[in-house]
Amino acid sequence: MAYGYGGAELLSDISLKLSPGSFHFLTGPSGSGKTTFLKLCYGALTATSGEVRLFGQDVRTMNRDDHALTRRRIGVVHQDCQFLDHLPIADNIMLPLNVSGRDDLEDVANLKELMGWVGLGKRGDAYPPTLSGGERQRAALARAVIMSPDVVLADEPTGNVDWEMSQRLLQLLIELNRMGKTIMIATHDMNLIRAAKNNVQARVLRIANRKLQLAGADL
């Protein structure tokens, strides 16, 4: 599979299968194509050549509603997290449930616990524009996992939070992985990767020179 914006190819000859329940880190220099790769993984971009299958279905054969349904099974944390600025952050985190027509009581209990876990317990009524950078990232992570999706793709989820908080977030993702979810985290933070390796069987992918490589135990 390959992808390029406009003329130049950015990623080429990539072949990867994310097996259910696996835990991946994605690293690479800034601008190497990590975000692009994640976008390919959840179908926001379509590969310029080759084939991408999501849950067994070829992206090219999916219609727009298929995409919507797929996204309910994939939680995404964007690098620049966007919210509905006119709704309190708690409602924003609940949004995936609302748009898919699910919001039973169980989920509300879930929400409380989740917001406590990411350290936003007291800020549920705040509006997104008043959140600090780290708080936004945590809210985005909470929004990504509230549906307990099969796959979580997180792009730099700890870029703006302190070490302690990033440990907590990692812990959350590791828990989810233990429940059988597939996790993929794009990050620059080698310490985070090292910390994770102690707790979970994580594989580290590295994008360099337009190729995706499996990084060895070189950390």
Partner: protein, 301 residues
């Protein structure tokens, strides 16, 4: 088509949850309501204008088309005979509703501006006038003239064509003016609402992309916006229409004296037409927002 109906149902049933995802207000939103309101206001005026000119045209038409005059000049001795003959002839003419010889007093009244009240009308060779009321279909003036020539040689038919033409033209022009304004303003209203809906959706690009990211379907997103903007246009147009109607009503109203122009305003069934404006505005908003939402969505995966 059934999808449109589904959508329309959705607009009015409403989903409180879906409704919240659209930001409550903002300039572009206000623009939609305001555009709908002012354009509705102007449309009411254009309607009033075109109805008033329609009535005016009808009045001018009525007053002149449906009556004509027969003038009989004959030596005093034959006058009564010829008048009777003419009346008989007219009674059997298709298209003539009534025909009536004017009395001396009536004739004197008509001539008074010329000769003063003391005219010895019986002593003069004043012609006898016969007033003809036509039916709606009117009669065949040329045919009547021929028959008159044969049977009542002293009769001259004046069917007022000379007066009727320019008045009818003028009224027709007024009516056309009304319709042109209504078309123009209607088209402007539609475009304005369309552009406002587009602007509002452009301003909400982030909302749409966030919704799409968290797995919302196109229909869900489109309907939330369509519902909001349709209702907004409906409310705006309703307010504008109401304001327009009130303004038309309180316009200086000394209507009856005007003579040539019936008052600007609505009469009878005329009140029904402005009530169509808000639903029409809503329908325009519905389709405009739907198209705009689909366009915005098609740029996202």
């Amino acid at each position: 088509m059934s999808k449109v109906v589904d959508h329309l149902k959705g607009v009015f049933s409403g989903d409180a949850q879906a409704d919240r995802v659209v930001p409550p207000s903002g300039f572009t939103a206000r623009l939609t309501s305001f555009a709908a309101a002012t354009m509705a206001f102007l449309t009411v005026f254009a309607l009033a204008l075109s109805m008033a000119s329609g009535r005016l045209a009808m009045k001018w038409g009525d007053e002149l088309t449906h009556s004509s005059t027969l003038r009989i000049s004959a030596p005093a001795g034959q006058m009564a005979d010829q008048t009777a003959a003419a009346l008989r002839l007219l009674e059997t003419t298709p298209g003539v509703a009534t025909a009536r010889a004017l009395t001396s007093d009536e004739q004197r009244a008509l001539l008074e501006p010329w000769f003063g009240p003391d005219l010895p009308i019986d002593a003069l060779p004043v012609p006898q006038l016969i007033e003809i009321q036509e039916t709606d279909e009117g009669y065949d003036a040329a045919g009547l003239r021929l028959r008159l020539q044969a049977e009542v040689p002293g009769a001259v038919l004046d069917d007022h064509t000379r007066w009727r033409k320019p008045l009818q033209q003028a009224a027709g022009r007024l009516r056309m003016l009304g319709w042109v304004s209504i078309l123009l303003i209607g088209a402007t209203t539609a475009t304005m609402i369309t552009l406002a809906a587009n602007a509002a959706l452009a301003a909400n690009a982030q909302v749409i992309s966030v919704l799409r990211l968290v797995g919302a379907r196109d229909d869900y997103i489109a309907q939330a916006f369509v519902r909001r903007f349709t209702l907004r246009a409906l409310a705006g147009a309703a307010i504008g229409t109401a304001a327009g109607l009130i303004a038309v009503m309180i316009l200086p109203a000394a209507q009856e004296k005007g003579g040539f122009l019936t008052g600007l305003g609505f009469q009878g069934m005329g009140w029904f037409w402005p009530l169509l404006i808000p639903p029409l505005a809503a329908i325009v908003a519905f389709f405009a927002t739907r198209a705009a939402a689909r366009r915005a969505l098609s740029e996202l995966t």
